[in-house]
Symmetry: D2
Subunit: 345 residues, 4 copies
Amino acid sequence: MVKAAIVGAAGYTGAELTRLLAGHPHFQLQAVTSSADAGRRVSDLYPALTGVDLVFTEPNAEALAASIDVAFLAVPHTAAMALAPTLLKAGVAVIDLSADFRLREAAIFESWYGVAHAAPELLSDAVYGLPELWRDRLLGARLVACPGCYPTATVLAAAPALAARLTTGGTVIADAKSGVSGAGRTPGAGTHYCTVNEAVAPYKVGTHRHTPEIAQALQDIVGAPVRVMFTPTLVPMTRGLLSTVYLEAAEGVTAERVWTAYAEHYRGEPFVTVHPLGVMPSTAEVRGGNRVHIGVALDAAAGVIVAVAAIDNLVKGASGQAVQCANIAFGLEETAGLAAFGPVV
Amino acid sequence: MVKAAIVGAAGYTGAELTRLLAGHPHFQLQAVTSSADAGRRVSDLYPALTGVDLVFTEPNAEALAASIDVAFLAVPHTAAMALAPTLLKAGVAVIDLSADFRLREAAIFESWYGVAHAAPELLSDAVYGLPELWRDRLLGARLVACPGCYPTATVLAAAPALAARLTTGGTVIADAKSGVSGAGRTPGAGTHYCTVNEAVAPYKVGTHRHTPEIAQALQDIVGAPVRVMFTPTLVPMTRGLLSTVYLEAAEGVTAERVWTAYAEHYRGEPFVTVHPLGVMPSTAEVRGGNRVHIGVALDAAAGVIVAVAAIDNLVKGASGQAVQCANIAFGLEETAGLAAFGPVV
Amino acid sequence: MVKAAIVGAAGYTGAELTRLLAGHPHFQLQAVTSSADAGRRVSDLYPALTGVDLVFTEPNAEALAASIDVAFLAVPHTAAMALAPTLLKAGVAVIDLSADFRLREAAIFESWYGVAHAAPELLSDAVYGLPELWRDRLLGARLVACPGCYPTATVLAAAPALAARLTTGGTVIADAKSGVSGAGRTPGAGTHYCTVNEAVAPYKVGTHRHTPEIAQALQDIVGAPVRVMFTPTLVPMTRGLLSTVYLEAAEGVTAERVWTAYAEHYRGEPFVTVHPLGVMPSTAEVRGGNRVHIGVALDAAAGVIVAVAAIDNLVKGASGQAVQCANIAFGLEETAGLAAFGPVV
Amino acid sequence: MVKAAIVGAAGYTGAELTRLLAGHPHFQLQAVTSSADAGRRVSDLYPALTGVDLVFTEPNAEALAASIDVAFLAVPHTAAMALAPTLLKAGVAVIDLSADFRLREAAIFESWYGVAHAAPELLSDAVYGLPELWRDRLLGARLVACPGCYPTATVLAAAPALAARLTTGGTVIADAKSGVSGAGRTPGAGTHYCTVNEAVAPYKVGTHRHTPEIAQALQDIVGAPVRVMFTPTLVPMTRGLLSTVYLEAAEGVTAERVWTAYAEHYRGEPFVTVHPLGVMPSTAEVRGGNRVHIGVALDAAAGVIVAVAAIDNLVKGASGQAVQCANIAFGLEETAGLAAFGPVV
């Protein structure tokens, strides 16, 4: 068994990681940390995890380093880059769910996050954890930067069309809709039930921090800078994220060519389903699972390819993908510990 | 008092019209018709309308024609064009909430709706009922074609940028999100609570029948054909519709110019609010009212203007706008019978 | 016009009062106060109230006293009893939505609320504002204690059966379900969307502070102490409150006698509807309105009368009832400013 | 591997059974039947079950009998009693999720369901499948009648207090709240999103068919007839069922004695958690899992014990409990194939 800890286990992604790792056949969950909740049982905070026999402890990088093989960091940005160097030096692999190691250039990180990067020397070692696109890099990786929830859906939706050169060089527009759990567990006016219920509301239009991450990934695919317009929208549901991506179609592209590009790109992927042409996914299909369901269409009159990806933001968009990456990094079966399908409604 | 009837009063838009007209200071609701529910009291079907002392009757154009001044048609498409000629001939004004008189060209109607138009001679008389853009035409109108819910939000969002020539001639992309009441009252797999709840799902991407209606209205604004890519998405809420419109910014356009164009375009409009630059509306703000709340942003790096309009699909997107149009057509105060504001949560 | 102010106007009940009074034909809203939001426009906090041209001010009893005829207190308990004496002394009528003047005995208040009562001398002057049961007392009242949301539904559900002596002296059991707006606008773990959504959860079983208020009202009806078992339950919706009341049926009571008692008790009430025997109300029927819909059934085999009342907790359960009481107190039409019916879905 | 089939696999309980059995270590799912959907892939109907490589077939008792060891019947009542005799005769064990074999007396079945029982001779062989109360009877059982969702929660909530003689003989009142999936997959006015959303509504008060089933189970516990008043209430969520049970406390009972009775009664149960005294469960805690979370309180002043049980209606209330019963009947580990915990939000 690989000995694991979750740092920042009291938030939603940390708790979801706890659920996945507590039932994982190859990882053994040794510790779950939370400054705010140290001393409390996991099931006191999350009665859904009744049966998980663990108590939150104070996070302590040195103590952890001595007892585990891998640390999953489910902490806010800046906290991860403070912890990672100590852990890595001690030989502990780091699966980071924060934003700290996603952007390769410290300057871009600093301009979007407004703080200096504390460990820029690690940025070139970090592997961006999107297995469906860059699986090989994850084998044996010691520092994995798990993608944000919006980039996961958006990049997986856009990639095949870009890779197959079905588009012009025009701006990629991503209109993404997310459930409220993406905003985290800390209460605020914006996550109050009465604010969110019966409300659809875009926010941070063109200014959301996931924008440069999407741009970097798309640039890696096409080999040139890609202009990205990204609009996140909050919708009244707990889980689920759907990104509708609009791409200018290159001359002569047909709907069938679009569909074929997607089907071939994701052939054999254990967690990806490409729906028949014109059939669009619903977030309900992937709730609770590590899946990505994709639908594509071509509006020939408008000259636009529409690619839609649906994920569960807490699973494929965060904790499930982290486990998937850790499975690969440690040479385990990629699907280990990740349920094949979720509840039917 | 102007004597009014609602034909097709048992559906959601018909019932919402009933609510509005029953409390209207100048319209007197003489009859509400419904084939399926003839003989039942309105409050049996809609306990929320307890106090409305009306019984559904069989629709009969001749009988209605003899007793009313105006008919609101809240019927499915094709039913309205069957009724309108008789009513108009008898001197009854027609406020049509169906799609039958929205498209000026019968050929376009027929290609999108798959049926021949039964009253093509009336198409040129019909006035498209979007008061904020074409108020003058509504004065004294005898046949008003009320816009669809998606076109109302989308066209109001796009109009100022197009009118002020802030955009290139590129494709206008509208990504709209609607609550479930837009699908009507008839039960089906797609409106089952367990299908819709916790689900966000695009449908009819590029093929929705509101597409040509949006294109016609935008063409009227710019004076030339406009390419439109329209994606409707169902979200888990009862009411509310938000359209996020992406427009390619013309060279040199600034965010301030965008905002000013919107503020000026809608200055003095009783039902429109333009939020400060970058502040986006939520559907919750307009629930239950006849309002449109609009937010705009410019993503200069991506070269895209984003304009977002939020409405209540059953009010400004249907029944409220019908009343607003009827008020204008009959020379009444435009806001009569339309509550100034809705519930705060 | 009667000059009015709302003290504590930034919370949900205060904002809903603002909506109602801003459109009221006889009250003129002079001031809305909020310590936390002084200086901000009402519509900045509540975009749904766009058009209300008011700015929150600091609450100041003396200043208010000089300029208004009536103060609506939408403040937390203890704040109202600090303000009321000054206002009353200055000749300002007080419509209090807090708990401070609901219980007639200071000792009971103190044992349930854990603080001494600051104005016990006013308790005997306060009129409990449930017009359907004690309308006469409200005429000319200067200090109205508006009932809590749970007591409003529960007492109106139980009253006719108790008044008609259809029950034994056994414990009255009230199982009430409330939407989240009842918990107020302050964010917390318990009102986070992800806590509430898809969750039904009883709380404060047998210990909720509305229990003694229900007991006092029922005692007033039967003329003897009544044992009350009260269970509030949070359900995933914004508005709405439904109280299911179980009463031990007296020997020989029939379903028809039960129904007749309810129908007669509420005959002519402008805001109450008694459904046919066995037909139960839904909270959706009363959303946004000041109505109470009541359903009754007798389970003869079990010997239990079931009476169910549905209200909108923010309207009939708070702000609407406050306006209804103020209308009566000031000799206005009882229904003034209160919409006859709400949205149909 | 035990060869299994699901008859009626296209409904919600059938699909949830498919999910559970497709991942079960000891049952091998050979066939899933559905008359309406024969020929379609399971994942076409339920995209969440992508990866389940099965096609719906026509139900045929003889063909099934030849190829399987156990049949799970997820069919409407009357369909199960038509199928069971043939299957049993052929040596196939039957796990019935319908109501057909729950009531021991054909006369009671006939009076509540309005049809004659087609296989009354099997009623005495059927084992009521509530393992926590009658586990021993399930060992080797050939015909299991799985409890209804409401009886599962209600009986598990009431049992310890009744068994420990903490109550008088008074009427047991159960006020239960259920999510919409309990109403099944067939669309209707009552399950339309716009009917259910923001709506809490009791139905079939005192007349629901689960009433005699609850009464029978409680009678088995106390050894004498028990009067039951049962009120089901629909709440706006997909999954989850919470039953709040009110029991008249016997003289001298203390809160501690109540809690201890529950803790001892369910000690060691793999799927039951008894919360600390006064802590009430939420349906959210058990979503997606086969768990029962129970909370108890005593209102000494009112003389009432309140016991609350929360379950997922489709899992512990239906398909999960069916698998649990089948595990026991076939001598497998009771928890096999049933996930230890569900999603954290």
